[in-house]
Subunit: 499 residues, 2 copies
Amino acid sequence: MSSFLLHVAVQPSSVGPPMRAARYLRRGPQLPRADFQLRPVPSGFAPQEQEYQQALLLVVALAGLGLGLSLIFIAVYLIRFCCCRPPEPPGAKSPPPGGGCVTWSCIAALLVGCTGIGIGFYGNSETSDGVSQLSSALRHANHTLTAIDHLVLEMVERLDEAVRTELTTLEEVLTQRTELVAATRGARRQAEAVAQQLQGLAFWQGVPLSPVQVAEDVSFVEEYRAMNNESCLSHGGRTNKKCMNEILSVRWWLAYVLLLLLELLVCLFTLLGLAKQSRWLVIVMTVMSLLVLVLSWGSMGLEAATAVGLSDFCSSPDTYILNLTREETGLGSDILNYYFLCNQAVSNPFQQRLTLSQRALANIHSQLQGLEREAVPQFPSAQKPLLSLEETLNVTEGNFHQLVALLHCRGLHKDYGAALRGLCEDALEGLLYLLLFSLLSAGALATALCSLPRAWALFPPRNPSASCSGSHLSEPFLHARLEPVPHLRSFPSCRRRPH
Amino acid sequence: MSSFLLHVAVQPSSVGPPMRAARYLRRGPQLPRADFQLRPVPSGFAPQEQEYQQALLLVVALAGLGLGLSLIFIAVYLIRFCCCRPPEPPGAKSPPPGGGCVTWSCIAALLVGCTGIGIGFYGNSETSDGVSQLSSALRHANHTLTAIDHLVLEMVERLDEAVRTELTTLEEVLTQRTELVAATRGARRQAEAVAQQLQGLAFWQGVPLSPVQVAEDVSFVEEYRAMNNESCLSHGGRTNKKCMNEILSVRWWLAYVLLLLLELLVCLFTLLGLAKQSRWLVIVMTVMSLLVLVLSWGSMGLEAATAVGLSDFCSSPDTYILNLTREETGLGSDILNYYFLCNQAVSNPFQQRLTLSQRALANIHSQLQGLEREAVPQFPSAQKPLLSLEETLNVTEGNFHQLVALLHCRGLHKDYGAALRGLCEDALEGLLYLLLFSLLSAGALATALCSLPRAWALFPPRNPSASCSGSHLSEPFLHARLEPVPHLRSFPSCRRRPH
């Protein structure tokens, strides 16, 4: 239900500012931060600063503290139950009161655990969705940026080719009439000017940062890929580090799915053990529950730290990303502001170059028109290079319109918005669901760990006083071969008892 | 787990063809279709044809058949259990064998039902996500289309204004020199030509179809909105039909959430009834289970028909949408193909107009430059209108670049791809999950309906032979005040029994 309401509230806003909704998700975990000396730390996202890292580590440490406390509580509860309970009168047949309640509370705890697992799968899927959206937006942005570079390169080459061949031929043909040669030279100058202006538009050329590299780094979190070990082994240096990251990330992803499946199996087998009254199975599942409890607290720590860091990042992503991109790419503020803000207040930094190129192209066109009118009647051999030049001009004008569309901030800004939405809406929401899963499963497993030993002590024993000594561990299915114990009640019961 | 794997497989592909993945989702339900006379029907999406509608209704009817069969099976099973079982020896204390198994199978069925509910919530959320993505893409497309219209209107008005004021002033100032007046008249002609070319670019002007209207119609499925009854009552005719649709859609949405919650409550209260051995609660929950079983089969029929229709639509959406849009908008094939296909093979239908406008703008610029050079030294009063004209020209050129970017197919085609992905990946996936929920809950509830009467017959009775007569219905909590029955076993047990 909560997931549904959340989804209705998180209405994606693809126009205008990248995100209007889900602010409560990002403003939510604005808890006070502190470093190891418990001094307050500013909550701005600064992953490179040591005190911020310490604040995140402190969040992880809090989960460790929770684990320790819950282990101590379970140990105290069980020691008190096993060793300090009042001695039973010998030969007493009835188990301690509340036996049915123990089983039912165990079942309830396992149900809560199963609910948590469902939430965990949902959260994992949401996180994966968000990361996949981020990676797809980055890939699309990379596609746009490389398309700009290729288009500029293509146009410049085409113009250079026209200058070298057709315009030179034309000059040679028209060499008798100086005013026509002057017009041809004018067209050549304009074409060279256009090529020069266009080269300034390929702003991403030579920039060391590749969004597709970032997308690849990110998508390792998201999906399992068959690891190409040969490529990892055959390269050295930085590639090896990348391979290491890849292996670690894939293992992290796998670990999450395995944790969820492990907890599901523990819940189901514990229920089976309770149903079949198999003491052996219940004891094994108690030990497994302890293991999963530790893992749940561990994952809770990691998720909490990631969620805190991500919410800090998402509370004002623009400034951080703008500064980071400026450092990484060395691009000017005007270009970055244009693409990251993309509103009426920021003017197109390529406007001047585009207008100049456009005018130069129009001038070439009118000069070619003039040449066709003046020269072709006198020099029929000029017609072929002129037609070829007009064809080149038409193609260049078509490409120019495409370049204008690619350079406009709408496309890249939409990718930026989609990437932020993926990270700060879906991925953060998924992380919060994963956190809820960890909380629920930690609570459910702690309850189950308290109830299970009491429940197995209530199984029909050979020697009830030895219920804590584990004397039946070696014969788990023995009671299945016993004579059926005559029973009057077939259900665990949780009713009030008369006093 | 399956959701996760599915998500890894459904990698969104925002570049190139709108969807490469999730084909198996759409090709999946390509079952043979038949109409009411069971003649085969082509599986192409044709919602307006009667035989296709019949094929979908037949899918709904299949769910009705399933409901009937499962009701008959449950009735036969229960009648056989109640009336045909061997007479118990009077005074027998032990319930029939397998009593614990009945309870545990009931618990297992309810667990499966709870799993189904989780899947249902996930599917509902996915469907809502998909519809929200579709509606957001439609809104974005509408934003682009209206932005084109507004931009064209603004540019035309600006040029008209310049022609009416500055160019007229300039002509009056330069009236003594005819060649300058001719140049001014040339600029005026060019400006009028640009305005005329631009007006042809506002291709969506006067089109009766509004994507935002479609988005609003669609988003009623997705989210609950406070219904503005006054606006519904104060208008007549078509608006009333819209209000009716709105109310129906919101009710459909609400019904889904209520069904999921109802089933969750039935599962939990049945478990509570079993735990407290409350015969009254279990009987009420049995009746409720019957109701929810009917509702589950009903929702399954609707989901199956919707999924079949949607998968037919999604197997080749382009042709259908292209034809529908052509009929609804009356736009030419060249424009629709350009936006729906958006690849190298389809040329920009606005290329000619854009190039002509661009050349005319460049010509105006060179004429103004010439005028400034020639006229200003002789007529200083010409400087003010010339500067104003150049300012207008600069703004128009900036707007022209924005118009080129808006008219390019990238943006609108990306919206189209996002809308299709929302409908054919997320919404269809969510529908399949909802179908899985309905199947699981129908199976679980049928099992529970078979087990529950047997389980309540095993509750500690006042008069065991009257277990089918309902004689305890009026005193639901009576046994809570009874003396506790001495019991040796506190758990339901499902072990093998010795022969």
